[in-house]
Every structure is written in C-alpha cells, then in structure tokens.
Amino acid sequence: MKIIPNSCVKEEMLKVLGSSSINDLFDDIPSSIRINNLDIPSSKTQQEVEAHLRVIASKNKTYYDTPCFIGGGQPHYVPAVVKALLSRSEFYTAYTPYQSEASQGFLQAMFEYQSIITGLTGMDIANASLYDGATALGEAALMSYRINKRPVFLIPEGISYEKKSVLRNYTKGANITIAEVPYNEQRGTINIDALTSMMSSDVAGVYVENPNFFGVFEEDVEEIGRIAHDNKSLFIVGVDPFTLGLVKRPGEYGADIVVGEGRGLGSMMELGGCGLGLFACRYEYLRQMPGRIIGMSKDADGKRAFCMTMQTREQHIRRERATSNICTNEGLCALAAVIYLSWLGEEGLTDLGLINLERGHMLYDSIRSINGFERVFDGVHFNEFVMRYNGDAYKVNKKLIKHGFQGGLILEPFYPKLSRCLLFGVSEIQTDDQINGFLRVLKEVA
C-alpha cells in the first residue's frame, strides 16, 4: 500500500528546485520550534488497521443488537438505494461546487434538495443545509435578530438541553436574550397565556416545535403564529420531517422560518453525528438567509445550468458582514435526503408517518398499562412520549440493558421539574418481536 507517490522521484524533483534535501524546504521554520518526531504509533498496514477497528467495533452495541426505545430523536431505516448512490465517489470526493461547470451533478441535486424541502415544509425557499437541527435553530435566532433588531428570542421551556445550549452559544455574540415560555403541565404543549404575557416589542422571534421534545403536537400552533405576528415578531417552527405526511406544513400556518433535524432522511444515526440542519424560509427573507443557496441559470449556449448563488451574503465575499460564517455544510447528508425522499415519495412518507404514529400510540398504551408507569401529558403525541415511573428509573434501564434493550431517556438531569420521568420513542426501525420483547421485559423489571 502506498498512498503517497513521488518518494522515488524526490531527487529528480529536488534537482529542479536546486535543493539537495527536502529539509531545505523547511528552512523557514525557526529551529527552536522544529520537531523530529511525533509521539504517536508507527504506520500500520490496512489489514492491521482493519483488525484493530474490528476489536473496537465489537465494543459497540447497535440499535439493532440492543433494540432502542430512547426518545430524543429516532433512527429511521436507510434504504440500500441511498447507500449505493452515496458511495459514488464523484459525489463524495468533490469539494463545495465553486466551479459550477464541473459540478453540475451535485448542484442539480442540491437544487432538487431545496425544491423538495420547500415542498415538504410549504415554504418558499430553502438553503443547501446547515450542520444540524440545533445549529439551524441558532442561525434562525440570529436571522430573526438581523431582520427586526429586537433583542429577545422566545423558546419553549420544553426543548432539548442540547438545543438550548447550542442556541445560547449562537446568540451570545449578538447579545440576544433567550427567554423560555413555560409548558402547559397538563397537555405538554406551550402555555399560551404565558406566551401572550411574554410578548413585547422586544421579541424578535417565537420558536415552537411541532411535535415538541416531549413528543406532543402543538395543537394551537396557528394561534401561536398569530400571537407572534400580531406582535410583529417572526414565527419559527421546528419540524420532524417524518410527521409532514400527516400534519399541515408550517408554510400553511404562517411560519416565517422552518428548521429541523433531517438526519433521519437517509442518514444513519451515527451517535448523533453528521446531522442535517434543515432551513427554509419565506422569500422576502432571502438576503438574510445563512448558508449556501443553489440557483438555476443558463450557460453561454442558453442551456439550463446550476450554480451557487446569492453569494454576496457569504463569508468568502462579505467577510465580517456575512449572514453566517458557515462554509462547509452537510452536503452529502442533503444529497442523502433528496435521494431518500424521491425514493419514498409522498405516499411513502405518509405511510411511514402513520406507522410511526400508530407504533408510538401502541407503545404508549402498553407502557401506561404497566404497573408503576403513568402518563405525564395528555396532549396528542407522535412517536415519542413522556412517562413517569414511581421507582428508580436508572435501575430499570440497567436491568433492561442486561436483557438486551435500551429504555427511555431519563429527563431529570436536564428538567428537574420532570423528576422520575422518561422519554420513550419508537419508529419503523424495531421489529414487532423486538417491541413485544421489550414490553415483556419492562413489565418484568419495572
């Protein structure tokens, strides 16, 4: 194996340079900071590396080995079609498509991605991806502030700890205050009275998740949008794309910006890595949008052609006045999403949504009927939900692992109000046998 050529022609090349040694080329580094050796292992062969990684891999248990009923984001099935197309190295070994003539394939696919995301969300325009759902929310808050220069951004109290933390970091520089709207403790939805009382001319935007982190649909989402708009604030909606075959699209209930985590659309969960930040908005905010945008144009012969566009918003042109610092995004994950969605189609997405909804409700009913568990919210949920357990949830989860299952996410560390509460979730990924097995064991150990 040799992945660095030219070792054998070094001398010849050095002669052209008039140098006798490669070391001469490093003469400009002061000798006091030159090093001779790195303290890392010596080179291994490919076979050795593979063997080493096999040992490491064996220490992981996948959500197939150990069926997972953890809430806070669900894995979804990735069809072989997506994997096959994503392994085309013309796609994955390309850079950001600066040279459009040699990147028409990726550019067209990203244009199609933008088209499909706007179709899915009912919005006018979408960018070509951000890092993940959490950073997309951060960018949405910054964009709201750029649009109306108001210093407060409202979020529901019940969004994930991770998103809250990322959002705070994203908005620190602009000095935006993040205020949390409490949830209705019965429904698990936004407390509308509290929201109304928090509105003021300082509010840049109101963020709502539908369904929210507790898995509950925000039934009054249209009213929330009205409250935001009556106050001349922006209305930002976070979506789970797997619900969009079933519920109204945010564009139909007045959203100004839509964000979300799109990882499930054709990408594996990968420990939460390689996310896909969905970002769509109304056309009038195009110039305030962060991230890459692909446009359709014509070539010199008048033929349809694609290129990156609206680049004067971006860091490589606008530098410190750019709408965002983002450069490298999640292009390949966006490609996975457009392949996945065009393969699944509207019908497939709707059916998949139904499976997730029905399984979510089946699991909810089953766990609720187990001694020791009680529901926390009575709002309508999708494929995730919160249950309170009147014993030691940590012990139950440990026992479940011994039996080869992963139980709910314990919410208490991040939501002290939700003591003894667990967030469960399910999707099409588990088999019926796995679900039944899980319920059987849960009944035993709880």
Partner: protein
C-alpha cells in the same frame, strides 16, 4: 481530449410519476386543527429511476477520484477507501446518541484516542471534537476566548485582529462571536507586519487569528515574536488549521505559542469533502483554556470511557451531540494508517510538490508570484500580466483547465494578489500529474484570449451565467415552473 459525461437530465420533479393516491391521507389520531389537507410538493419516483437519475448526475460531477483537484487552502487529497468502508460498518453507524455509555465503549474509545493523537500532533493539551466544520471550530474557539477573558473579568476585550490574507471565515466567525474585526495589512514579504500588529494590539484585543503557513503558503517565520506581542497585550493567539498539511511532524502550533487551534479533518486528515460536507473542525487548547471546552468531555477511567458533563466553566454545547462521528472515525483510521513517519512524509511531499510546480511554472515566464519565494504546501500565482497584455482573466485560465480534465485552483483569493490562482497540489499527486497540470497552465497562457474567454468547452454545460442567477433567483422547482408540468413529456405530477 477530455469530455465529461453530459446528459440533459431532467429535474426529479419532472421525472416524477403521478401519485397513486388522490386524496391526502391523515389519521384520526392527529388533532383536527393540524390535519394535512393539501398535497405535499414532493416527487415520487420508482427505484430504477432514482438510481439512474442520481448516477447520471454523479457522472456530471468532478471529484478527487477523477483527477487532480488543487484548490488552495482546501487540501483535496486522496480519501483512502479503507476509511470509507470501516466508517460504514453498522457497529459505527447504528448508534443512538443517548445510548447507555456501556453500549458505545468502542465509539468513545475512538473519540478519546483521536483527541489524544490530535493533542500530540498539534502540541496542545486538550481537544473537543464537537465542531462540524472549520468555521464552526473557529466560532467555538472564539467563544472559548470570550469565556477565558470573561472569567478573568477582562470584559472590555471586544476586538479580534486578522491579517488581510485571512480566510473569509475568520472575520465572519469573529463577528458571530460578537467581536469587532480589525484587519491588518501584510508586509512586503506577504507575512504579518509586526509593526502594524503591535500598533493594533491593545487591552481591547481578545484574540489574533493566524493561519501558518498563511494563505500565500508562506511560513510566518516571526511566529515566536508574534506570540510574544500577542501575549504581552493579554490577548490569545488563534491558529486556523486549514494549512496544517504543510507542517505535520515538522513543527506544532502549540510549540509556536498558539493558545487555540482548529483543524479541518476533511482537509489534513483525508476525510472526503462530500461535495461540501460533512466535515469536522476539532478545536485544541492549552491548559489555561481547557476548563471552558464544550460538554460533554470524554473521560477515561481504567479502560472505561464515559461522558463528563460536570464542567462548571464549560461554554456548553456547540453541536447537537458529539460532532460528526463518522468523519472523526475516518481521521482516526487515517492517522493509524500513516503513523508518525507517514504524517511527516505527507508534509514532505505536499511541500515538495508545491515547490516543484511553482518553480516550473515560474520558469515558464507566463505567470508571476508576488511576495516571498520559499513556499510551503501551496502558492499563489498572479495572472495580472496575462490580463494586462492579453485581457485574459484568472477565471478564464481556471475555466480552460476544465477542458484539460483538470480541476482549477482557488481563484481570486487571497485578496491581496491580483488575478490570483491559489494552487495546492497535496501529497497525493504523482510527478506525472503535476507535469500535466504545469504543461496545461503553460499551454493555456499561449492560447487565443477569445477562445479562453468562452471556455470551458468539454464540460456538461458551458460557462454558467452567475450574474443572472443572482439577479433573477430561481431557487426551487416551484419557482421555475408553477404549473408543475414537464412540457417535454406527457408525465404529469399533479
């Protein structure tokens, strides 16, 4: 002669078959106020059509696996296939981020060992792997700088200094972190002007951001003096690791005096760019900044790995979870493959290749290279003479290279070089490939300016009108065709 595959490939929306189901489906469980009543605007294709459509698109796309891709500051090196294969193993991909630690010991080991090896390679004391790209790393680094100064109640530091050769992300990240950006001009060598730096540094300076070697490919030989000036002013020194490929095993940012470092795993550590991501932009710091790193930290106690959220001074989170895991895994595999000798050889050959190309191109007499002569892994040519004498622009040269089946360099950057071509061949290219590229650049310089101004000729489309694209934005299928009917066929999608 080179010809790229060319299809008049319709958009997926134009290929879409009619939906079988006429009515919209919903479910009685969904609250009435939320039930979907309209159709989704998404296409439906059968599997064969999906495969053919995207395979055709892939053939109209240029990647490193097709040929030389010498974008300056982008380090488009070969991406070893073994990394691709292993990173797709289910044992690494089918993992939920909230799984119990005991079930992801292998993944945590990869994260922990990668952190340790990056510390050694850069001379830093601790790393976070959370940032998803270089710019994301910069932003993280600047939030760390902010937390550091705030902790010392040194709150009036609201400025970040960058040289005029800095990547655009540097000032953009600084602005996003809430800083005022001050740009200082380079000196006649193309390096940091120490006088300008001293004058600009003050008790308002939070950080000085520097790429070393810089974007001209020049090593900042005064780096120790720069570090002294920055630290004497109470500020921090930030290392943009975009050009780390030049100095692996030769010197380390930590030894140069940098306090914060970000790396681009999708550049130096060979993970593929994916057509613009996912990447990874890990951030390394010296001891005095470690307590501010994002949570969770990966902790190792006797051979057991766990997440540690108990970091009271941490800035919190910067990514939804732990970073782009499969990218980090590929970099881990690459470091093991190369080992210490291999990484050092990477920089040997990357620098040799760049200097060889530079010498032969300059010897041809058609292109110029302003500023200092000895370069590291990249160099910036100027086409200004071609422009003045023949009206040929850097963009024309770039587009004509495509007709040779070669990817153009970065153009018009850094901004201080007129008609710039920024070339970074990397260590992956053989001398033969370099010679082809050199000869192509020389033959292009001799060509008819009219011919060049209309290049390329052998790509799927000819030169794209980017001005029109920005003036009349067409950004979705709906915007170009509201009727949703492909006029060239009988297939209707609604």
């Amino acid at each position: 002669m080179y010809h790229m595959a060319c299809y008049d490939e319709p958009l997926i929306n134009e290929l879409s078959c009619e939906n079988k189901r006429k009515d919209t489906m919903t479910h009685s469980l969904i609250p009435a106020s939320l039930r979907r009543t309209t159709k989704l605007d998404i296409p439906t294709l059968n599997e064969v059509e999906v495969i053919r459509h995207f395979t055709r698109l892939s053939q109209m796309n240029y990647g490193v696996d097709i040929g030389l891709y010498p974008l300056g500051s982008c380090t488009m090196k070969y991406n070893p296939k073994i990394s691709e294969e292993i990173s797709r193993w289910e044992r690494f991909t089918a993992l939920h981020p909230y799984q119990d630690e005991s079930t992801i010991q292998g993944a945590l080991q990869v994260l922990h060992e990668t952190e340790m090896m990056l510390c050694e390679i850069t001379g830093m004391d601790a790393f976070t792997l959370q940032p998803a790209a270089g710019a994301h790393g910069e932003f993280t680094g600047l939030l760390l700088a902010r937390a550091y100064h705030e902790k010392k109640s040194d709150s009036k530091r609201d400025e970040v200094i960058v040289p005029d050769t800095a990547h655009g992300t540097n000032p953009a990240s600084a602005a996003m972190a809430g800083y005022r950006v001050i740009e200082i001009p380079s000196n006649s060598d193309g390096t940091v002007d120490l006088t300008a730096l001293s004058k600009t540094l003050s008790d308002r300076t939070a950080c000085f951001m520097l790429t070393n070697p810089n974007t001209l490919g020049i090593f900042e030989s005064d780096i120790l003096e720069i570090a002294r000036l920055v630290h004497d002013a109470g500020a921090l020194l930030y290392y943009d690791g975009a050009n780390m490929n030049a100095i692996l095993g030769k010197t380390r940012p930590g030894d140069m005096g940098f306090d914060i470092v970000h790396l681009n795993l999708h550049k130096t550590f060979s993970t593929p760019h994916g057509g613009g991501g996912p990447g990874a932009g890990p951030v390394g710091v010296k001891k005095h900044l470690k307590r501010f790193l994002p949570v969770p930290r990966i902790k190792k106690m006797k051979d057991y790995y766990s997440f540690d959220y108990d970091q009271p001074d941490s800035i919190g989170k910067i990514h939804g979870f732990y970073g782009n895991f499969s990218v980090i895994l590929r970099a881990y595999i690459y470091i093991l493959l190369m080992g210490k000798e291999g990484l050092s050889e990477v920089s040997d050959i990357a620098v040799l290749n760049a200097n060889y190309m530079k010498k032969r191109i300059l010897d041809s007499g058609y292109y110029d290279m302003p500023y200092k002569s000895l370069r590291k892994h990249e160099f910036v040519l100027s086409c200004e003479r071609l422009h003045k004498e023949k009206g040929v622009r850097a963009m024309d040269v770039a587009k004509r290279l495509l007709d040779h089946g070669l990817h153009p360099p970065t153009v018009y950057f850094p901004l201080i070089v007129k008609e710039a071509l920024m070339i970074e061949p990397t260590e992956s290219e053989s001398k033969d490939n370099l010679d082809k590229y050199i000869n192509a650049l020389i033959s292009i310089a001799k060509e008819d300016p009219d011919l060049l101004s209309k290049a390329p000729y052998s790509t799927p489309v000819r030169r794209v009108d980017e001005v029109n694209a920005a003036k009349n934005p067409l950004l979705t299928y709906r915007m170009i065709n509201k009727e949703c009917i492909n006029k060239d066929s009988t297939v209707k999608c609604d």
